[in-house]
């Protein structure tokens, strides 16, 4: 490995990989994307999607996956231009150069991952109940979130090997479901008519859109691949392939699993179940004791959900850390623990926010309002991510012709236009269907605003004299 000598001082040529060793290969990135995407939905949400559409709910997954993958193309294009960890905030900033908009996007990213972590934790508790029924679900979710913060603080999951093993476990769970499907079809019991059966409340189209909006949650998380963009080997070539490849692989798995679930379990059962994929296993199609399979499968589902939630927690603390470095949130968020090199304050704060969301949901339920916490927080996540995704695609189009070289991956423009349309249609539908989610959205946005105001009025001491807020940004652009 070649070194950069001291003269000229500290010039590590950022373009030439000779002096810089990057550790995330295309294969690792593929598994990272697959793992993050797979955990985030199918284990948690499949029952809700089935309930919205009926037997044909695999179509909802197919459409949701397609819209998300098109958005993935825009991310891939932007990552090859700007291989940095900031993701959407950076792209929107480059495209619009508008500080309030950049702040809004950053807070939206933060809020989306708060809501996602809350939804995933609730899903985790549903599977946990299958293994050990005693502790109340709220307690399980809170302990889960706090444990993940601690795990991130210590840094256990930093190993790429751990990440890959968790992804393989996730895939194994869904392979079990597919084997059940093949056996079932082999036994000649499958009634394929169910796959084109719509049991929607309103029109079939609205039902499918409802399903798509929920299924969309299953694909969120892929944008966190930007976390490792900077450490990806040869990002211009690797990133588009690994990101889009991972998403397509996840999409194919989703559609197949949705079909198997529809074939093997009555839609009504799927809809009522908290841990719907377990119903497929419980149908007793494989010649293995159902009790054993149930526990095995519940454990696999918990690994999957944990993997995705861990990445959400990493994203939250990174965003808070980055915002603190930029002086838009108070300085403690930038504090790093001396031995662990972790942003301990950001981790604690993020865990508290997610816990507060979960407790709010629980209190509302106790007060008789009747909130389905999984669905509500998933909807909140989807609102934020649809907004972010649409803006990212617009940014990708707006940044065409800038910072491009021969290696830059360019996504087909017509696909991106369809992507914007798809994201906006879904956003419109979700807002129309569940306007109460807007309270949660507003609460999370206000939290971001509160942190900003706190820093604005009380946080001036840590800024060097004579420098205004945002000056650094201006300098970066030079």
């Amino acid at each position: 490995m070649a070194d950069a000598t001291i003269d000229p001082p500290s010039e590590l040529d950022p373009g030439g990989d000779r002096e810089l060793k990057r550790s995330i290969t295309g294969k690792l990135l593929f598994f990272y994307v697959l793992g993050v995407v797979l955990g985030s939905g199918i284990y948690v949400l499949i029952g809700l999607v089935a309930g919205a559409v009926g037997g044909a709910f695999w179509i909802a997954f197919a459409v949701g996956v397609t819209v998300a993958t098109i958005t993935g193309l825009a991310y891939a294009e932007l990552v090859t231009k700007y291989p940095q960890a900031a993701g959407a905030a950076l792209y929107v900033h480059k495209a619009f150069r508008n500080h309030p908009l950049t702040f809004l996007i950053t807070v939206s990213m933060l809020s989306a991952s708060f809501a996602a972590a809350g939804s995933l934790a609730t899903g985790f508790a549903a599977y946990f109940k299958q293994v050990w029924d005693l502790p109340p679900a709220l307690l399980v979710t809170l302990v889960f979130i706090i444990l993940l913060a601690i795990v991130n603080f210590i840094g256990i999951t930093e190993s790429v090997v751990t990440n890959m093993v968790m992804t393989l476990v996730e895939v194994a769970g869904l392979v079990i479901v597919m084997i059940i499907g093949i056996v079932y079809i082999g036994q000649g019991k499958a009634d394929f008519g169910i796959l084109v059966d719509f049991q929607t409340k309103e029109s079939a189209l609205l039902g499918v859109i409802a399903g798509v909006a929920l299924a969309f949650f299953a694909m969120t998380g892929f944008e966190n691949a930007a976390n490792v963009a900077e450490e990806t080997v040869d990002p211009a070539r690797t990133f588009p392939r690994a990101l889009v490849g991972g998403m397509i692989a996840a999409g194919v798995i989703y559609v197949l699993v949705a079909m198997v679930s529809a074939l093997t379990v009555p839609i009504g059962t799927l809809q009522k179940s908290d841990a719907a994929l377990l119903e497929v296993v419980k149908a007793g199609i494989l010649p293995v004791p159902v009790g054993f399979m149930t526990i095995l499968f519940a454990c696999i589902a918990m690994v999957a959900i944990t993997n995705t939630t861990l990445v959400a927690v990493v994203t939250q603390s990174r965003i808070l850390y980055g915002m603190s470095k930029e002086d838009v949130v108070p300085a403690p968020f930038g504090k790093i623990h001396a031995a662990r090199r972790s942003p301990w304050f950001a981790l604690i704060f993020a865990a508290l926010v997610v816990c507060a969301l979960l407790i709010s949901g629980w209190l509302l339920n106790r007060a008789g309002v009747g909130v389905d916490v999984v669905a509500r927080l998933a909807t909140v996540t989807v609102i934020f991510t649809l907004f972010i995704y649409a803006l990212v695609i617009i940014s990708a189009l707006k940044l065409r012709g800038q910072d491009e070289d021969d290696d830059t991956f360019i996504a087909p423009t017509w696909l991106l236009l369809i992507g914007i349309l798809g994201n906006l249609v879904l956003l419109g539908y979700v807002l129309y269907d569940d306007p109460a989610s807007l309270y949660w959205v507003a609460a999370l946005l206000l939290l971001g605003l509160a942190l900003f105001l706190l820093e604005h009025f009380f946080g001036k001491r840590d800024r060097p004299a004579g420098r205004g807020r945002g000056d650094r940004i201006a300098r970066n652009e030079a």
Binding site: A4, I6, R22, K325, A338, R340, I473
Partner: protein, 156 residues
């Protein structure tokens, strides 16, 4: 002799570098390689607390851990300027202890200098730190520079 000096961006790692210079004979050292390791999957992949460049790149829009590592390396490397040995800088990526050990093996190093971040409880209770792992598996002697015992904290 080739010496590897690791930095995690902490002030303690700067103290470690200074400690080496305080007692070592520069005439006996041919090369110093300053090494920074980025942890891609960590919450903060690299935190630079050394450079007073005011983190020009580590903003939420342009969060660049590579830039943070480059800045921290520059600070440590500047310490060694004019001391004698040829100074190299390396940015690596992965698990810190592994990468430091690999760098030591690749350079056929005669000494590895690392900082131990914490004192007391968190070091014993939490799982092994980078310094401990380097100590166990390095192919050469290791200098672990520990923080001074905690004095009464100054009111800030």
């Amino acid at each position: 002799m080739h010496v590897i000096v690791a930095t995690d961006g902490s002030k303690q790692s700067l103290l470690a570098a200074q400690h080496l210079m305080a007692f070592a004979d520069p005439a006996r050292i041919s090369d110093v390689t300053v090494v920074a390791v980025i942890r891609p999957l960590a919450a903060v992949a690299f935190a630079d607390e050394l450079s007073d460049v005011d983190h020009p790149q580590t903003t939420s829009e342009a969060l660049s851990f590579r830039q943070a590592a480059t800045n921290a390396l520059a600070v440590i490397a500047a310490e060694f300027e004019g001391w004698g040995p040829t100074v190299h800088q390396q940015i690596l990526s992965g698990s810190p202890a592994n990468e430091i050990i690999k760098a030591a093996e690749a350079a056929d190093a005669g000494l590895v200098v690392v900082a131990a971040g914490s004192r007391g409880l968190s070091e014993t209770v939490l799982l092994g730190s980078t310094a401990q792992r380097v100590q166990h598996y390095a192919p050469c002697p290791v200098l672990v520079v520990r923080p001074a015992p905690r004095k009464r904290r100054r009111p800030s």
